[in-house]
């Protein structure tokens, strides 16, 4: 396995601090594909998927899969926020700054700006760049490709992951300091994958995305010999207008037994909001429209106005 330290820094009290990465495949030129996850230390699905992908591609390199060959180099950073991953913190633990609000970074700036600079430098020249996220501690996302103001090529390529949903979003002002936004200044294509929920591993989601990444590498010709079906699954394309969101009309406790990825009909019961003190039902939550269940709240304690469910309509 070929790994190196992307960042090497001193730490105040413990041993020196590094951000290790994998570089797998032929050595010449820039990596054809860069995979990044763990910008937020609590988004463990992405860390798990990329660590397993590194293990798989290393095995390919070592000849464990005779039919497969890595034709081009792949860069994998399973966790950028290493200290956060080790202490289960979303933000950079030392100063609580969000590593994904520090781009494009600055070589001479704050610690997280220096990290951002190095990550961007290592990844920006890849033809394909993929940033994996795991929502947050509260909300579970169906594995999906998120596109931000995409090019026509990115719209087409997004289908190659074979994930159940592709969602298009516009760039808001607070988004301008993210890795995705900085990538878009460079030639090449950029994708953000949302997978499950932070704080734990949802194995079925991870397995689905792992297969998706291998299929993607096969379809773009980086991993030769992969047998990929024409369409593992029909990728559904949703613009922002296709998303129907249900917000909490009352505070309380939201409980649902629904799993993501299923189709719901209009009026179908999705869960309940209870009064958390006396247990009375405050709201029976039902689907306002028929569609694919792509996101659901898992942290039950609600304020008024919290997002409960997202349904994507055809």
């Amino acid at each position: 396995m070929s790994s190196r330290d992307l960042v090497l820094m001193t730490a105040p009290l413990r041993e020196d601090f590094t951000i290790p990465c994998h570089e797998i495949g032929p050595a010449a030129g820039n990596p054809a594909v860069s995979f990044v996850s763990g910008l937020h230390g609590d988004e463990i699905n992405g860390i798990y998927i990329l660590a397993r992908l590194a293990d798989f591609l290393t095995a390919v390199e070592e000849g464990a899969y005779p039919k497969l060959r890595l034709a081009q180099r792949v860069l994998i950073i399973p966790a950028v926020n290493v200290l956060g991953a080790n202490t289960l913190r979303r933000a950079w633990p030392f100063d609580q700054s969000d590593q994904n609000r520090m781009f494009p970074g600055n070589q001479m700036g704050e610690t997280t700006q220096r990290i951002a600079y190095t990550v961007l430098e290592a990844t920006k020249k890849s033809a394909y760049r993929v940033d994996l996220h795991g929502s947050n501690l509260y909300f579970e996302e169906l594995p999906q490709v998120r596109l931000y103001d995409p090019t026509p090529e990115e719209r087409e390529t997004a289908r190659l992951f074979g994930l159940p949903a592709i969602m298009e979003r516009s760039v808001s002002p607070v988004f301008t300091t993210t890795l995705m936004y900085s990538w878009k200044y460079w030639p090449g294509q950029s994708f953000l994958l949302q997978v499950g929920q932070a704080g734990s591993i949802q194995l079925p989601h991870c397995q689905q995305v792992f297969r998706g990444l291998v299929a993607f590498l096969g379809r773009i010709g980086v991993l030769e010999g992969v047998e990929v079906a024409e369409a593992d699954q029909e990728a559904l394309y949703f613009t922002r207008e296709c998303s129907v969101r249900i917000y909490a009309d009352r505070a309380g406790m939201f409980v649902s037994d629904k799993t993501l990825g299923g189709w719901v009909s209009k009026g179908q019961e999705l869960g309940y909001i209870y009064d958390s003190f006396n247990g009375a039902v405050r709201t029976r939550v039902t689907a306002p429209a028929a569609g694919l269940l792509t996101g659901i709240r898992r942290q039950p304690m609600l304020f008024e106005g919290d997002l409960l469910v997202r349904i994507c309509t055809r």
């Binding site: 820094m9 001193t10 730490a11 105040p12 009290l13 979303r90 030392f94 100063d95 609580q96 609000r101 001479m108 700036g109 704050e110 610690t111 997280t112 700006q113 220096r114 947050n136 002002p173 607070v174 301008t176 300091t177 917000y247 009352r250 505070a251 309380g252 406790m253 958390s276 003190f277 304690m301 609600l302 304020f303 008024e304 106005g305 919290d306 997002l307």
Partner: protein, 325 residues
């Protein structure tokens, strides 16, 4: 309303159910005198910043004394919003707890969104149209700042003349950054409501001298605007601001990790090459790195929280650029 009355009311601008039993209320106190202009003070947007809370208390105390002794002196309306992020203040958290989001990146908000968006929307709805809003911040727990106003160059023409009357020591003009478009100040200035952002002191502490200094400036500005009667007597201004921008501010970031120990007081004149502090290691004797001033100037930012990682900001020194005429 009789000429000499001054009414004082405290109310909620937003009341929301909480998950278990309680309600969240964003409170303000309104001092209503004559029909003159309306002004507002905003504080506590970040739950770890307390300097503005004390400024609100000083102003409330002053206004209540006015109500007793000279009610006709208040010719306009004053609104104090000391705690825009009450859950953050309750829990020593900079961001809004649970939502883990910076309230000052959620403006202008929306009436039906999540809690941060609703607070932002309620704030903008109440503050829009004021003759002046002052949003008081207290740096963070890491850095101590001299009393200053920060102004986006997009709005400098209108705001600098106001800021010069605020009795502070620095006006820092910064370029337009997209990410700052989601602040309360940008949202208000964009709709024509002038909003000055004050930064002073340090997080989780109060610096009473700075608070009283700012209070003098606020009262002076209110009198300029006609919120206070011309015959109201105020202490005279005793601070004139220096000007800083990208051309004369120098950042000192830590070259190595360790414990930063300053050897100089905050807010002093420094010479080029002068020692400001040392980075040392608790694991060994000696000095890991010396921190020296890159220019002749004023040490206007100094690290308060001593642990540093490589890159942590330890100080900012401003080369003298003169004052605005």
């Amino acid at each position: 309303m009789p000429e000499s009355s001054l009414s004082i009311t405290t109310s909620c601008i937003l009341s929301l159910e909480m998950p278990y039993s309680e309600r969240l209320c964003i409170r303000r106190t309104v001092y209503r005198g004559g029909n003159g202009p309306r002004v507002a003070i905003v504080a506590g947007i970040h739950g770890d910043e307390l300097e503005g809370l004390y400024v609100c208390q000083l102003l409330a105390d002053w206004l209540e004394r006015m109500a007793r002794e000279n009610p006709a002196g208040l010719t306009g309306t004053v609104e104090l919003y000391p705690a825009m992020n009450p859950l953050g203040l309750d829990t020593l958290t900079r961001a809004i707890p649970v939502f883990d989001t910076d309230l000052n990146r959620n403006f202008p908000g929306s009436p039906s969104g999540d809690l941060p968006k609703r607070i932002a929307h309620a704030a903008i709805g109440n503050l829009s149209g004021a003759a002046l809003v002052i949003d008081i911040h207290a740096s963070n727990i890491y850095l101590r700042e001299i009393p200053q106003v920060r102004i986006n160059t997009d709005f400098a023409d209108r705001l600098v003349p106001l800021a010069q009357r605020l009795n502070l020591d620095l006006i820092w003009l910064h370029g337009a950054m997209t990410v700052l478009e989601a602040t309360v100040a940008h949202s208000l200035n964009s709709v024509g409501t002038p909003c000055l952002v004050v930064e002073m002191g340090v997080g989780m502490r109060i610096t009473p001298d700075y608070c009283r200094q700012l209070m003098t400036g606020i009262l002076t500005l209110w009198k300029d605007l006609g919120v206070l009667a011309p015959d109201v007597e105020l202490p005279s201004l005793n601070h004139l601001p220096l000007i800083a921008d990208d051309s004369n501010v120098h950042y000192l970031n830590a070259p190595t990790s360790g414990l930063f120990v300053p050897v100089i007081e905050h807010w002093t004149d420094v010479r080029k090459g002068q020692l400001l502090g040392n980075i040392v290691s608790p694991l060994q004797g000696g000095i890991l790195a010396e921190v020296r001033s890159p220019v002749d100037g004023i040490l206007f930012t100094l690290r308060e929280y001593p642990l540093v990682y490589e890159g942590s900001l330890m100080a900012r020194v401003m080369a003298r650029k003169g004052r605005l005429a």
